[in-house]
Amino acid sequence: MIEVDGLTIEAGGRRILDGVSFRLEAGGWYGIIGPNGAGKSTLLAAISGVRRFDAGSVRLFGRPVGSWPRRALARRLAVLQQELLPRTAFTVREVVLMGRYPYQNWFGGSDEEGEVLVDRVIGTLGLSAHAHRRLDTLSGGERQRVALAKAMAQDPELLLLDEPTTYLDIGYQIHLLDLVRDWRRAGNRTVVAVLHDLNLAAQYCDRLLVLREGRLIAEGPPADVLKPETIRRVFGIEPVVLPHPASGVPQLLLKPGGPDAKPAERRTADTASR
């Protein structure tokens, strides 16, 4: 579904992405993790076709991303951004209906099944009571749910999430990712998500891709990727990794650095444990 080969992007004399290659099959939930500035959002922008690249290739659904007409692509690929929707005077339903733009003519009237889909999505996301409220009367969490509804109204095979939970409290974070999970399973769709929170990434993603300084340095199921050694190499911290009591996926406990931390000792211990 997504084939990235030797992808390289430079900006201001710096390599943001440096020869990244991978292949993602349809039907999974893939997480992209890595520290700030690793190139995660840039990678997502390149996959979605809004960012030009300097070398390499990106193929979506078997075709180079640049050769897709934007409207045709928007029928198969949707993006949920980190930035919240602006406080406009459009109502919730009007904004969700904008997700049907790639299917519509000028008046937006010819799309009967779109209207049905939009109302269903609004119901699924628990927005029915807000359907006719203006966006500038909603909270940040509610606006992000509207953005997700808009992306779902596009009825895409592939959904890209760019740190969608950044501005949300933990309740909204879990709620939003649950909605994406259920929607993905119901339609056998593919999700690629840039996530900051490694614990959330471990619980929702089937596979993780780890980026550091523009290079792909690890790829695999969370249990293989989220090892103390990898995390130290990528983030420069010393975590405690434990299995989740309920699901068994790896979870991180953080501890402060400083004089008490003795990296040399621990490295020895880790090496020993390996």
Binding site: V50, A74, A78, L85, P86, T88, A89, F90, Y101, W106
Partner: protein, 348 residues
């Protein structure tokens, strides 16, 4: 209510208001013609109207049909051009202060017109010398701004607006210089810069007509794209909008339409800024309504303003640009106050 129905109903209502404004404006003026007579002359001219023998003089008919009606038609067209262009500029620049002059059309046109007048070449190419010079120099100014703001094949909105501000300041200084060097008693340049529809004929209206008639459907065709762009350029791109192409095309179309209006009327301010805002305040943020209603609303606004301009201090004319700003500025202040009070929050 479905959108096409809303567009038809509100546009119909607005056109009715425009028709009433036109007839009202026709009925008043310095010649002191009674309204009834004006109406008979008008009805008499309608095809298939037939009717009674004329009870008016040829002179009176000339005043109504040639002097007043041509001027009012020009007012409608200039207002419509500025209104739709204002909606286009605000739609793609997503800035509440954007108006048709943001990218420097008016300043460019003023330099062209002022240069021709300073050199005494007003009639070098007949009656169209000043309009052609204004039209061309207005377009050149906008192309300069677009080039200045372009980098990597993209135009960031902030850079565009800033480039426009810089060029306007620069060209405005040129115009001021030419005004201050002028030795005429009544300063032609100043009068042109302030905007006026006096001493215009049907020819002028016919010049602007194609721009208004072609510009409206063209800009309106991008209304849905502008709706999506109000969510941000990234959102619009992910929904299938060609953002850069939409920006460039709408800006160029709006600029052409504005340049046509400015080249015959001079710089008529505030119409393109205030009318789309007023429409948005009443009818909401949907550009499929804002574009056509701003065109009709602009026509109504300029007809009223020009009627005041020619009658309020008759026989002296108030420059039209002065009047639109005199009415428009307090209105805009009220709009800001309302926004501050949190009643009229919009997409900013």
């Amino acid at each position: 209510m479905k959108l096409p129905v809303r567009i038809v109903i509100w546009s119909g209502a607005a056109l009715l208001l425009l028709a009433v404004s036109v007839v009202w404006s026709l009925s008043i003026g310095s010649a002191g013609l009674p309204a009834g007579k004006v109406w008979s002359i008008l009805i008499h001219r309608l095809p298939f109207a037939g009717g009674s023998a004329p009870d008016w003089t040829p002179m009176e008919e000339t005043i109504v049909m040639q002097v007043r009606l041509s001027r009012i038609a020009l007012a409608v067209l200039v207002g419509a051009c500025l209104g739709m262009a204002g909606a286009g500029f605000q739609g793609v620049l997503r800035n509440p202060l954007a108006d048709p002059y943001t990218l420097g059309v008016a300043s460019g046109s003023s330099v062209g017109a002022a240069l021709v007048m300073t050199l005494g070449l007003q009639t070098a190419l007949g009656m169209w010398t000043v309009p052609s010079a204004a039209f061309l120099s207005g377009l050149i100014a906008v192309f300069a701004v677009l080039l200045l703001a372009r980098s990597n094949g993209q135009m960031a909105v902030e850079t565009l607006i800033l480039s426009g501000v810089i060029l306007q300041a620069f060209l405005g200084a040129f115009v001021s210089l030419m005004i201050s060097m002028s030795e005429d008693e009544v300063n032609q340049i100043l009068f042109w810069v302030l905007g006026s529809l006096s001493k215009k004929s049907w020819d002028h209206a016919l010049l602007v007509l194609p721009f208004a008639v072609l510009g409206l459907p063209f800009i309106a065709a991008f209304a849905s794209a502008m709706n999506l762009m109000s969510l941000g350029e990234r959102h619009a791109a992910h929904l299938g909008v060609h953002v850069e192409w939409t920006k460039l095309t709408v800006l160029l179309a709006s600029t052409l339409v504005t340049a046509a209006a400015v080249s015959v009327s001079g710089v008529v301010g505030f119409v393109g800024l205030v009318v789309p805002h007023l429409v948005r305040l009443i009818f909401g943020p949907d550009y499929r309504l804002i574009v056509p209603l701003s065109a009709i609303g602009g026509g109504i606004y300029v007809v009223w303003a020009d009627t005041l301009a020619r009658t309020a201090l008759s026989p002296k004319e108030i420059p039209l640009g002065v009047l639109t700003a005199l009415v428009g500025a307090p209105f805009f202040a009220w709009l800001l106050w309302r926004r501050k009070a949190g009643l009229g929050r919009e997409d900013a």
